[in-house]
């Protein structure tokens, strides 16, 4: 919340009184809701100590199920990102090519994989590996999950790369041309290195999406990641509510660390003297970046490039999310 909100003035005495009243009513309503939930849980004996204390007393819950599951989740997410990055970079650069026979196929590939649900890609990959590849049954789900995530995220990252390069001032290309660089040289030596810093926060934010999507593989393909191991915990200790709460907390903790890191990176880049200070916004934390075919690419907040780090609202509305807080960092704004 910015100091001066566009919606209301600084509160006077009457507004302050009214705010206190609303606060009291709201807290009372929240408390009533929480009481209702807790008593419902209590009626079904879900608050019994026996359901919750395995997570403290029984170390096997962690060593056999949750931690290996978390490790699988993180492995799949990290591998997917590492494989998707170069592919995404190629596709993103391909979309900016001046040759139509490179640009068009890149466009089609990116738009195709962005409009298909990642679950469909995973199911397809799983079956394809079963039919056409000689992959051991046990690790096939992992291959399928990573393949699905790579196909989808490569096209999302392609858009991030493109937005990153387009965010650079035109003068960079002009200067590179002026000293006699060819197009490839300008891209490799001048544009990409600067674009990478602008893209980093968006890439880290995309990692959050990837971590969340690995859970799909657990639920549909039997990949042994955190969610499917949570199911085992819930079955073995018959503590469904407790198990899912702990699993959710683990996911949230991992993703908070990642978003926090992304926010920190973004702040560092924005403040930095070197580079343009431009940052590719991760579209309001939305799942799929700009997802939609036909919608404008995740254009950059022009405000981000203004000197002095002032964030002005960008001109025009085709620029995706509001650029004032170009990222989903928790507690930002």
């Amino acid at each position: 919340m910015s100091k001066t909100s566009v919606l209301y003035d600084a509160p006077g005495p009457r507004a302050r009184q009214r705010n206190v009243l609303i606060s009291v009513v709201f807290v009372a309503a929240l408390a009533a809701f929480a009481w209702w939930v807790l008593s419902a849980l209590n009626d079904k004996n879900q608050l019994d100590l026996a359901k919750w204390d395995p997570f403290v007393t029984d170390s096997r819950v962690w060593t056999t199920y949750l931690l290996p599951g978390l490790q699988e989740t993180l492995t799949a997410a990290a591998l997917s990102l590492v494989i998707a990055l170069p592919l995404g970079a190629l596709l993103g650069i391909g979309r900016m090519s001046q040759h139509w026979w490179i640009r068009r196929p890149s466009d089609v590939i990116v738009e195709f994989f962005r409009s298909i649900p990642v679950l469909l890609l995973m199911i397809f990959a799983n079956q394809a590996f079963a039919e056409w590849a000689n992959i051991d049954r046990d690790i096939r789900p992992m291959y399928a999950v990573i393949t699905g995530l790579v196909l989808y995220n490569a096209s999302v990252l392609a858009e991030i790369v493109r937005a990153g390069v387009l965010s650079l001032p035109r003068g960079q290309t002009d200067a590179a041309n002026a000293i006699g660089m060819r197009k490839t040289q300008a891209m490799v030596y001048v544009l990409l290195p600067q674009a990478v810093t602008a893209m980093l926060p968006a890439i880290v934010s995309q990692l959050v999406v990837i971590v969340k999507d690995t859970a799909l593989g657990g639920a549909m393909l039997g990949y042994g990641e955190l969610l499917s191991n949570t199911r085992l915990v819930a079955g073995n200790y018959s503590n469904t509510i407790a198990a899912y709460t702990v699993a959710a907390a683990l996911f949230i903790a991992v993703n908070f660390l990642l978003t926090g890191f992304a926010g920190w990176l973004e702040g560092r880049i924005r403040r930095g003297r070197r580079g343009t200070g431009a940052v590719v916004p991760h579209d309001a934390g939305e799942e799929s970046q700009t997802a939609g075919a036909g919608l404008p690419a995740p254009a950059l907040g022009k405000g981000a490039t203004l000197p002095g780090g002032t964030d002005l609202p960008s001109a025009g509305t085709g620029t995706g999310s509001g650029t004032g807080d170009g990222g989903p960092a928790p507690g930002s704004s």
């Binding site: 705010n19 679950l119 397809f124 639920a219 309001a284 934390g285 997802a291 919608l295």
Partner: protein
């Protein structure tokens, strides 16, 4: 070649219709709840702001799959919540649970889209309106919201398209929608590529026109600044 498209055995259009229904109900629900959340997040009351922020940050960082599975395992199997069904039709129960999960999750993105829309309205607009003597309601309805709604179209369109694709997650709790049917079909028929192509085409048909249409709308209503 296309004999796998045995529409008597596989209810292809029914599955995609379920996907559409999931999308529509979840979109309406998350638009309402997301607007309420956004109102909390921009309200002058600190407690409401804190609640809105906490809700959004927690739910947005939880995997949708976990929310959906927990709706089924936790709410129904453990707590016995039947969502106003008599429990005799498992498919309609799973459908309602899935819609609940989608609303809980998607509303966070709706909230963020709306909030970013309000943030794009320059403070000077409201200050000018106040200087003219407009009251709070007038500032809101005549100056701020008309501009905010316009700039909110592209991010909301993205949320809607992402929601359309996310409805496939309902397959994890057995809602008979497109992704579940695709898995059934490719397991039973030895026609992987044609089947995958049909389903890919189905989703492109669902998402591409939405994107094009809403992109066109957002260009038309854009605020020229």
């Amino acid at each position: 070649m296309l004999d796998f498209l045995d529409l008597d055995r596989y209810d292809l259009f029914g599955a995609f219709w379920t996907t559409v229904e999931l999308t529509v109900y979840s979109a309406i629900g998350s638009l309402i709840w997301g607007t309420a959340l956004a109102a909390m997040r921009v309200s002058p009351v600190p407690v409401m702001r804190a609640f809105g922020t906490a809700y959004v940050n927690i739910l947005r960082n939880t995997p949708l799959t976990l929310i959906i599975v927990a709706c089924s395992q936790g709410l129904y199997f453990t707590m016995g919540v039947t969502m106003w069904t008599d429990g005799s039709d498992p498919n309609s129960l799973a459908f309602r649970l899935a819609v609940l999960g989608f609303i809980v999750y998607t509303s966070t993105f709706v909230c963020e889209a709306l909030r970013s829309g309000i943030n794009t309205v320059p403070v000077g607009q409201a200050e000018a309106a106040r200087a003219l003597g407009l009251g709070f309601t007038q500032v809101l309805t005549l100056v701020v919201l008309p501009q905010a709604f316009r700039s909110v179209v592209p991010p909301l369109a993205n949320v809607l398209i992402a929601l359309t694709k996310n409805t496939t997650v309902a397959a994890t709790i057995g809602v008979a929608e497109a992704a579940l049917l695709m898995r059934d079909m490719i397991e039973r028929e030895a026609q992987l590529l044609p089947i995958a192509a049909v389903f890919a085409f189905g989703f492109i048909v669902l998402t591409l026109p939405t994107g094009l249409f809403l992109g066109w709308v957002s260009k038309r209503v854009a605020v020229k600044r």
